[in-house]
């Protein structure tokens, strides 16, 4: 199936202008979200006070790292979702459906149960390897005679994801109550405060992944229009697929390893932006990164504040806020395309 929307011709000026606008939105979101939280913080006291000021500790040691993490995770999920939807030509493609996040979660949980500490960097590292391994397994299983069929990738991915979920449930049934809490974390997804070092590490992975994807944006555009046509225009279809898979799993690995399986961002944000900005991947990929980042930053802000001082799982917010809004936009565009 073809994903179509308002086709606006993408000029370099429009690309620069839109990217800058979204970057500004993200920047403002980061500042705004850092100022909101369950505890009231005075910015003046935070900036003036030394390390003895609770305001400063809250702002710079607990809230800002979490807001930054939300942006890295949201951006990674958004960009990888956009790339996978384009690559597989299927509107349902997203990191979760393809089993990449499931594989990452399984690896993380196995590391956890094997005795790695919940807050040690070993667990994200294992999850990251799990993401890479899953995409290798899924795309490998969907390959025959050197060709990868998109719908086979989707089917294998769906099955692999169900398999991963079953493994998570199995582990959940076998481990003790306290360890089961850790398994639940991977299944539900949650953002917590991490060290700046770990956040910077995952940011490096996601920026590399995004850059890699953007380099293939033009080929992705041609692929979306049709595989045969793309081949005739000189696109090495198999190589492009492999590159996009690896880049996407870099992004998903960076996201899931830090936050578990946060749903809806990778599915909704790219669609939303495609409806607004058009299907050109040169704009859509960076826009999905910036938009996904801003979306998750705000979803997490709601999760932190709405039940304050207790916290809500962020996946609840992404689904509750994203779902209806997405259906509204989709209906609007359906009406327009029918009229």
């Amino acid at each position: 199936m073809r994903i179509s929307a308002r086709g606006t011709y993408l000029t370099p000026a429009r690309l620069a202008w839109m990217t800058a606008a979204l970057a500004a939105v993200l920047g403002l979101s980061l500042v705004g979200a850092a100022l909101l939280g369950p505890v009231h913080v005075s910015l003046a006291r935070a900036l003036a006070g030394g390390d003895a000021s609770p305001d400063r500790v809250i702002l710079f040691r607990t809230r800002l790292p979490r807001v930054l993490l939300a942006s890295v995770v949201g951006g990674s999920l958004g960009a990888s979702g956009a790339a996978l939807q384009g690559l597989l030509g299927n509107p349902l493609a997203c990191p979760h459906v393809l089993g990449i996040s499931g594989g990452a979660a399984v690896a993380g949980v196995v590391a956890l149960v094997a005795g790695a500490d919940a807050v040690s960097p070993l667990v994200p590292l294992a999850a990251f390897c799990g993401a890479l391994a899953s995409i290798a397994i899924v795309s490998g299983a969907a390959r025959a005679r050197g060709r990868t069929t998109p719908h086979a990738v989707l089917l294998v991915g769906v099955v692999f994801n169900a398999l991963a979920a079953a493994v998570l449930m199995l582990v959940n049934a076998l481990v003790s109550y306290t360890q089961a809490q850790g398994v639940l974390f991977w299944m539900m997804g949650s953002l917590s405060t991490q060290s700046y070092g770990l956040i910077a590490g995952s940011a490096v992975y996601s920026v590399v992944g995004l850059g890699w994807l953007v380099l293939h944006a033009h080929d992705l555009n041609l692929l979306t229009a049709g595989e045969e046509g793309a081949q005739q225009l000189g696109v090495d279809v198999e190589r492009t697929r492999r590159s996009v898979f690896v880049a996407s799993s870099l992004l998903v690995g960076a996201a899931v390893s830090m936050s578990g399986m946060i749903g809806f961002v990778g599915l909704i944000v790219p669609h939303l932006l495609r409806l607004i900005l058009g299907p050109d991947h040169r704009l859509l990929l960076p826009a999905s990164f910036l938009g996904g980042a801003a979306f998750l930053v705000w979803a997490d802000t709601i999760a932190r504040t709405v039940l304050a001082p207790a916290e809500l799982p962020v996946g609840v917010v992404t689904a509750l806020a994203g779902g209806p809004f997405f259906i509204f936009l989709l209906r609007r565009s359906l009406r327009r395309s029918v009229a």
Binding site: A52, P54, R61, T62, A118, V119, S190, P309
Partner: protein, 290 residues
């Protein structure tokens, strides 16, 4: 009588009537489906009557000999009925509800006791003792436990309560909230739970709330290793517990069970919150095996 009618009659007889006559006297074959209840049965001196326990029932040590009849929250109806119990003890939980109902339908007497708070314990001990036909043992156990808890309170009477946060999981950060046995134990052990008002029994909280509530002691009752809680809270220099190095491990399953070891849990917790106050001559922090 036609064959169909005979089969029907047999079926009706098999389903409706009690398969075995109700035993006279106190139950002799007891199954416990909760670790807390198992411990209470042993403390009442009726451990020898247990013919089945749940997979998580690990105290006291003798219980290792008793057959398992499934998980704490997922008991096996068949395994339970197979040991022919005349009393099954369970705690209320959505996980075991269907299984417990099925056991009841099979004609076995079921006693459901709550195990969330100290109040539940004061109710469940007499209820269990009564059902086992040894009410005076129940009264004795309640009196003994109440006296030991009062003893802990009395010895901490002159001590200023410390502001305490008890962590049960690190990622996400899950802590002990109000309305729980653990919250009551914090109070008995000379602490004030800084997140008692947060709204649920086991709330997930943000790290910034830890900064805002500024606990003087952080008790880490989670699974992670020694360094993990220290790493999690390391940057929070304004929190007194972090500043003064009062992040204490508490590895004691008694803390999570409304059973006969609550007094031991209170002592262990008091040692964590006010080190050295309770027992200057070095009483052990380890919970006794029984």
């Amino acid at each position: 009588m036609s064959r169909h009618a005979l089969v029907l009659a047999l079926l009706v007889a098999g389903c409706g009537g009690a398969p075995t006559p109700p035993p006279a006297g106190p139950p002799a074959r007891v199954v416990s489906l909760a670790p807390s209840a198992t411990e209470i049965v042993y403390a009442l001196g009726a451990g020898a009557r247990l013919v089945g326990v749940c997979g998580q029932c690990d105290r006291p040590a003798e219980v290792a000999q008793v057959p398992r009849v499934g998980g704490y929250l997922a008991p096996s109806v068949e395994a339970t009925l197979a040991v022919r119990p005349d009393l099954v003890i369970a705690v209320p939980s959505p996980g075991n509800r269907e299984a417990v109902r099925a056991i009841e339908r099979a004609g076995v007497r079921v006693l459901v006791v709550r195990d969330r708070t100290l109040g539940d314990l004061w109710d469940s001990i007499p209820a269990l003792a009564g059902a086992l036909g040894i009410p005076e043992a129940g009264d004795g156990l309640v009196t003994d436990l109440r006296q030991r808890l009062d003893g802990v309170r009395a010895r901490l009477a002159g001590v200023t309560p410390r502001r305490v946060l008890v962590v049960v999981d690190h990622n996400p950060l899950v802590v002990v909230g109000g309305g729980t046995l653990q919250d009551e134990l914090i109070t008995i052990a000379g602490g004030t739970n800084v997140v008692r008002d947060v709204g649920s029994a086991w709330p997930t909280i943000t790290l910034e709330l830890v900064v805002a509530r500024a606990p003087e002691v952080i008790v880490d009752a989670g699974m992670g290793d020694e360094g993990s809680a220290r790493g999690l809270f390391a940057g929070l220099t304004t929190v007194p517990a972090v500043r003064d190095g009062r992040i204490v491990r508490l590895r004691d399953d008694a803390f999570f069970r409304a059973g006969p070891r609550v007094a031991d849990a209170a002592v262990a917790l008091a040692d964590a919150i006010h080190p050295g106050v309770l027992a200057p001559e070095g009483a052990s922090r380890e919970a006794p095996p029984g």
